[in-house]
């Protein structure tokens, strides 16, 4: 059995319900329905178990975590368990009063996601009207002493006005700005040709972010996640399989990563049936790609294997059909041409239609063939 460290963070996908329909959503295509969701008591027990295992940070996410009416109770429970609690939200429907309740319950950090900073463009990406409210919400957040991060997902359709978006977001006075490129799982992989930026776009974006970092030093901390398709080596996905993080989906299944559900034949144990400690240490899914035993060449004899752990298992499976393969993002990977082809082909086919404002069902029809909006579970 590969030896294991203790997990540092728990990602709790407390629901898959979400009022938005983002085209880059990394949720699985098969979403968990409301009836299958874990009850409040289950989550509270999981938080206690996580803290006992050594977890320090809890990330409440979804879907849209605000869709859970018991969110305040969950935050209180997390705080009682001494976890540092982060809420990742699109902010839709969050009133000033409810925000005050969440902060009162012990929330430490709120991460507010933006689709764009121009109303029409943002609504077009999210498939719903959402932007104006976020700006108002940002003001309310700053009335509390919690950490405030704005998160912006960038891709081919918005990357060219990144500078303007950063300037608009900085006016909201966040402590942190996360500029994350779409990651190609779930809905984003479906929509990749419309989302993957070209190399030239990416180089410009990197320069824009460097300049912003310089200008905002000591005021806003900027973190940028670049699309791995344009990198030479893969990312150390989740800090390595079963090494630092675990994710629990709305139905209670524990996964080593958001996308792990795509890997066929992996069995994910459920916190309804098993203790979290057992799942982390001994369950098949968490042990599967822990350590180095499973690695194939060239990873097995490569010096970088302790840094990137051979890349992302889910991406390896999604692109090569073999979860043990070297992540094709790596330029040493035997199947690296899959990435080169995607970059080349998407650069030609991914044209941007004009931004539109319309109800979701109209957008859905208009955009059919260009991209698919994320749907909502029952």
């Amino acid at each position: 059995m590969a030896q294991c460290s203790n997990p540092l963070a728990l990602i709790a996908e407390i629901t898959h319900r979400c009022p938005l329909h983002c085209v880059y959503c990394s949720n699985p295509l098969e979403l968990t329905s409301r009836q299958e969701e874990l009850a409040t008591g289950d989550w509270l027990r999981v938080f206690d178990e996580a803290a006992a295992l050594g977890v320090l940070h809890l990330h409440l996410t979804g879907g849209e975590p605000l869709a859970r009416p018991d969110l305040t109770e969950l935050i209180e429970g997390a705080r009682r368990a001494r976890l540092y609690t982060n809420l990742i939200t699109s902010g839709i429907g969050l009133s000033r009063e409810r925000l005050t309740q969440l902060v009162g319950a012990g929330l430490d950090h709120i991460q507010l996601s933006f689709q764009d900073t121009s109303e029409g463009q943002a609504n077009w990406i999210a498939g719903t009207r959402a932007h104006a409210h976020k700006v108002e919400l940002a003001g309310w957040i700053r009335e509390h002493r919690i950490a405030f991060t704005v998160n912006l997902v960038v891709h081919r359709q918005n990357i060219d006005h990144l500078d303007a978006m950063i300037r608009a977001l900085e006016a909201l006075r966040p402590d942190r700005m996360e500029i994350a490129h779409a990651q190609y799982y779930g809905w984003a992989l479906q929509n990749r040709p419309a989302l993957l930026p070209t190399r030239a776009q990416l180089d410009d974006a990197v320069a824009v972010v460097r300049a912003a970092e310089e200008r905002l030093r000591g005021q806003v901390r900027i973190d940028m996640v670049v699309p791995d398709y344009h990198a030479r080596y893969p990312k150390a996905c989740m800090g390595g399989w079963g090494r630092q993080l675990l994710l629990i989906d709305p139905a209670g299944r524990a996964l080593p990563c958001h996308a792990a559900g795509v890997i066929p034949g992996l069995r994910f144990d459920n916190v309804r049936e098993r203790a979290l400690g057992w799942i982390w240490q001994s369950s098949e899914a968490f042990q599967k790609f822990r350590g180095e035993e499973w690695m194939a060449e060239p990873c097995r004899s490569c010096d970088r294997r302790k840094e990137d752990f051979g890349g992302c298992r889910c991406q390896a499976f999604l692109l090569t059909g073999d979860a043990r393969a070297t992540d094709p993002v790596c330029e040493l990977a035997p199947l690296h041409h899959l990435i080169e082809d995607a970059v080349r082909v998407d650069a030609v086919t991914g044209l941007a239609p004009a931004a539109r404002e319309a109800p979701f069902h109209v957008l859905q029809e208009n955009m059919a063939g260009f991209w698919s909006y994320r749907t909502d579970p029952k």
């Binding site: 540092l8 320090l56 940070h57 001494r82 540092y84 982060n86 430490d108 950090h109 991460q111 509390h144 002493r145 919690i146 950490a147 405030f148 991060t149 402590d175 942190r176 030093r217 000591g218 005021q219 806003v220 901390r221 973190d223």
Partner: protein, 91 residues
């Protein structure tokens, strides 16, 4: 970046706080946690919003009487400026 002067009052930035146990305290912040020991811990414990930089330096000077003149202030400055750039400490 804001300038750190003798009159500045350094304190944790919003959403940054102590965690862990009394024996092994950590500073928790959105991206992670850092274990602080020794002088770092003493400095951060003084960053509770009650003391100015000058007062913090003075307290440390009485505690570490053998340190060369000016050394403590310079070290505290570097330490706090680094944490400020990471958005962990404000002043």
């Amino acid at each position: 970046m804001a300038e750190l002067t003798d009159a500045s009052i350094p304190k944790f930035a919003p959403g940054c706080r102590w965690g862990g146990t009394t024996e092994a305290p950590v500073v928790l912040f959105p991206e992670g946690a850092i274990r602080v020991e020794g002088t770092g811990r003493i400095i951060l414990e003084l960053c509770d919003g009650h003391f100015s930089l000058a007062e913090i330096v003075q307290k440390l000077e009485t505690q570490f009487i053998l340190a060369p003149k000016g050394k403590i202030r310079a070290d505290v400055l570097v330490f706090l400026e680094q944490l400020h750039a990471k958005r962990i400490v404000d002043y």
